[in-house]
Symmetry: C2
Amino acid sequence: MAAAQIDGVETALAEKLEGVSLDEVKRILYGRPYKSLEFSAEATKLAQDGDFQLAGYIVDAQKEQTRAPRLVRVAAIQNRIHRPTTDSVVEQRDAIHQRVAAMIEAAAAAGANVVGLQEAWTMPFAFCTRERLPWTEFAESVYTGPTTQFCPNLLDEEKDDVIWNTAVVISHTGRVIGRSRKNHIPRVGDFNESTYYMESTLGHPVFETKYGRIGINICYGRHHPQNWMMYALNGAEIIFNPSATVGALSEPLWGIEARNAAIANHVFTVGINRVGTEVFPNEFTSGNGQPAHKDFGHFYGSSYIAAPDGSRTPSLSRVREGVLVAELDLNLCRQCKDAWGFRMTNRLDMYAQKLTEVSNPDYRPDIRREQ
Amino acid sequence: MAAAQIDGVETALAEKLEGVSLDEVKRILYGRPYKSLEFSAEATKLAQDGDFQLAGYIVDAQKEQTRAPRLVRVAAIQNRIHRPTTDSVVEQRDAIHQRVAAMIEAAAAAGANVVGLQEAWTMPFAFCTRERLPWTEFAESVYTGPTTQFCPNLLDEEKDDVIWNTAVVISHTGRVIGRSRKNHIPRVGDFNESTYYMESTLGHPVFETKYGRIGINICYGRHHPQNWMMYALNGAEIIFNPSATVGALSEPLWGIEARNAAIANHVFTVGINRVGTEVFPNEFTSGNGQPAHKDFGHFYGSSYIAAPDGSRTPSLSRVREGVLVAELDLNLCRQCKDAWGFRMTNRLDMYAQKLTEVSNPDYRPDIRREQ
């Protein structure tokens, strides 16, 4: 018969976990437990010297006969800005480059094969100001800008001077494989991005790398389950969600959305959020009746990785910079697909037809009333 | 500047919530706090006498000038079976009817306007057995069966003797408004339902009641974000998810999926799961290499209601029967729609086109490789 059951997470929390199983609470909240990754002394020292968190987990899968485990170490890097926003654009960017270089070095020492960075990680998230200069000067060319020389994900200024929110995927060979642009632009709170750049018209490209097929769902796209789904339908095994989001707005949503996408699409998802509070020179208001102020609120970090079986890593800190490394067995994607079979039960053709109907301005919702 | 931040949920749990704010942990896990509903002495006594849990919360919204608050009390009823599965079909069903009648009485005494029940709540969840008789005898006619005389959600035996998994929506006037059938049938674990009944061909009907517009996403449909979305696009404000699911399979997913749907679609969602362990007369195997056994595992209850702002109620117990009552201000749906605007940013026409393309057997995934 079934093992003894605890009464629930709420009871456990209310009683401060006394007299109930911490392991069971963790299982309900986060799924099966992961073993911790053992780090090299070098990696540990880099994190200590750099004063950032280094955490690692092993997300294993069942052994198969005809496929070897497909082990990939994925790193998520969560950083803050490193110079006042009143410094020059070049000084600010260089300081972040230098910091992130140290964090990538630690990730490499921890054996990372794939490194994911935040949304717009080379700059303060200045869209709250609604000012253009100097913030738009952080935009760079995807192919020739100083950050692509260095690493992916940046604002992308094309040759016609239109700015896009773009992630660049760089191969282990150092060559740019391609770029992915933000599909869904916020129209909420201080995220005044819809006046800075446009929705992507590049669709949902997936990038085949030596370490798995990667999709990039930038920030606000995580609120749209269809966006995650399209990356998965194009074959993604790992979908990154480079983000920049603040506590008062989205924190209770953060642990839900990327994880739901991992479950629904039989993929790994990597939610990466910046950390810290960024102060701007000029005051601005937030459309919420509160007085003018100079900061966007607290970026709560909490980067995490979710697995297709519904389990997830703990979050990185809400207050410190950090590197999260997870050794993923990509075989778990197909194993979950085989077990749950949502790709068999998703009735895509029905939804293709339904969404087409709903997109018609003359669509009449199917509402039934008492006769 | 931002208030002092705790380090994270994981830290808090690890330290057993000592020295950190329980309120802050709850906010991160579950969103803004709700006030508790005060129950009448009658409701409290009914729950005490009946030995089931009674919990209630107030999910309020901002005051508006031109709309009064649209307060609706929604009840979710989580029950177990009340006779051994070796008793006759009629005895088993009558015992559950009697029990659920007492629970509905308590919900009514707590002021509930809308009551939601579990999936296939009139019967043990016998699909694990893969046997037909006597379990298929629990199927009833939607319009004339003994349970519709009593209340909604049952297996639905049409006049041509095909069985469907159907929820019936009954108006406060006592008349049947209509029915909703399960759109996505499991092909996982012991949920051998795909050999008992078919996928619905009724689409995603929404039922306009005196107490709001209601959609019903039955059980496995919660794994499919498109299913939730279509009910919302048809105007649902409250989407019920009558379920029957067991701990080893789905428990870490349970708190994620209905809540993600509430967030993504600006609606309330009500996840209702049965509770207890059901033992069957004949042994069966579970396709997992384990020995034959006679029970499906523990149905973990944990029914909860999620709000469009990402907050949620605590769960009902994992082990006891219970009635969860929440006073919802339905104005919150449009307020969240106004604030987040996912209906503006969802790019439905793009996904209609993409899903149409993907549904074509000749579709080639958009995979980019290093040149």
